[in-house]
Symmetry: C2
Subunit: 310 residues, 2 copies
């Protein structure tokens, strides 16, 4: 598959996931809900439907496809991961966290609305993700649904994404007496990144395997792929922060180094980081060997993540 | 059962739930987690293990007992509800929300730590609640676990607790141009309260029925009981705010009226609110008629909620 046709496949998948997110964030309260307050729902829609490549849902859906699963239910699981990703962006952007004004080229949720609303938007998106997964429309088998819930919860919580954000704030020296950035080892940085961004990407691939009824080996292969892809994603992101400009990226750049933030690129230098990135992509592709050409789209995804310009 | 023996039963249940929460918030990462960052875990423990009557876990456990379920697994489900309750207190106390310095007689999480940590504490407690419910240690039957997840998620999200907090902020006039409190009708107030505090209390009773394998009618009876109890709880809370003092309550009082906040007590007056409270307790007790004396503890709980002094 050419890079062009991959990107068009990714864009088309994003449209499909957006339609599911639209549906999940409709004005009508779902069964069991008392009411959906207008302002909260508006702000949830603003934070979730404002573009984005929808890479994590794409990975989940393509991972499921490796195992022959491609129904509408798969897209609900895919949307749940995007709900988690969207919540994390809203909370990370808050003044008390990264204090960002710009996200995907427009005002962050707390700027477009206010801080209290943004906090509740994040809480509500996070909660909705588990609501979606637990619903029988996501999979007829309760054992599959509860496995999806467990996998997403473990990846998102204190031992995964939320914990990674905590480590990231600590790395900036936020809690140190002198507020100086911590000097992190390579292992520290890898752990931080595995938690902050890697865990959710890994979970996306693994959840695709779960909903696809993969056997133990198949599930492990997808988890390994996701873990390698997550590392590649983070290095590519750090390289973009060094090399890109705000216009292309749609958010502030050069921010990492100006904050003295420890990244692998900072520790290794740009050239070594580029080499490591290429190695990770090759490893991620190799993790998919058991699936032959059925995993070609996921291989292409690994190359896309490494090569992306925004 | 006397009021004294009820209170000692409640206190003893709180100790048991605290032990489960201690275990869930242990330093060791659980399977699948990468690491539990010290500061985040400390702050989660601070926010969760700092006392509290554990009323919601108690209701869940006693509801389960009505249907003959009383194993250690029930306490995990009970703890999950307290994790949600604790998260909501941490986020509601934030400067951008209710801006409270005192909770359960000591510094709120963002005062004891900092705002960023408090945001992540809430996010992580919320996520952990679903992790706990999805784990097979909570129930051997995946269908029961996923039912618990769905019930808790719907009660906690935009159409329940989080949405109720949004309505509460709006009622204070937070988003109005003149920042003046809105003038709410009785229906508005009832909906706000049903969402903000009622939904989680209702879910606690219903989750007890779920884990107890109640039939449809039994589940509905517990949900009705929870709904009535939730209303009673809120009126009792509003009465306490008017009549109690900070020392007894362990948090700021008189705050509702000083903020011009609409409450049923404000709308009806103290005497009519007391009458309504008594009526709700009687209705809640009556909802338990199908269960005879097996539901005596839950009946006592309704009276306790109405009579409590802190």
């Amino acid at each position: 598959m050419s890079a062009e046709s991959f990107e068009s496949r990714l864009a088309s998948a994003a449209e499909t996931v957006d339609a599911v997110l639209e549906d999940l964030l409709a004005a009508t309260a779902r069964a069991g809900e008392i009411a959906r307050p207008d302002r909260l729902l508006d702000a949830m829609r603003y934070a979730t439907l404002g573009g984005g490549k929808r890479l994590r849902p794409f990975l989940l859906a393509e991972a499921a496809r490796v195992f022959g699963a491609d129904g509408a239910n798969v897209l609900r699981a895919a949307a749940s991961v995007e709900l988690i990703h969207s919540y994390s962006l809203v909370h990370d952007d808050l003044p008390a966290m990264d204090n960002d004004d710009l996200r995907r080229g427009r005002a962050t949720a707390h700027r477009a609305y206010d801080e209290a609303t943004a906090i509740l938007v994040g809480d509500s998106l996070l909660t909705l993700a588990f609501d979606v997964l637990a619903d029988e429309k996501t999979d007829p088998d309760p054992a599959v649904r509860v496995d999806l819930v467990a996998t997403l919860a473990i990846a998102s919580g204190l031992g995964g994404m939320a914990g990674g954000q905590m480590l990231d704030l600590a790395a900036e020296g936020r809690f140190a007496d002198d507020k100086a950035p911590l000097s992190l080892s390579m292992d520290d940085i890898l752990r931080l990144q595995a938690m902050k961004t890697g865990a959710l990407i890994t979970a996306s691939a693994e959840m695709g395997a779960i909903i696809g009824r993969a056997d133990k080996a198949g599930r492990k292969a997808l988890r390994d792929y996701g873990h390698l892809l997550g590392q590649a994603f983070q290095i590519a992101d750090d390289l973009l922060d060094v090399e890109s400009d705000a216009k292309t990226l749609g958010k502030a750049t050069g921010k990492d180094s100006s904050m003295g933030k420890a990244t692998l690129v900072g520790l290794m230098g740009v050239e070594a980081a580029r080499e490591r990135l290429a190695g990770l992509v090759a490893e991620a592709e190799a993790a998919l060997n058991p699936f032959g050409d059925k995993a070609d789209v996921l291989r292409q995804a690994a190359r896309f993540v490494a090569d992306r310009r925004n």
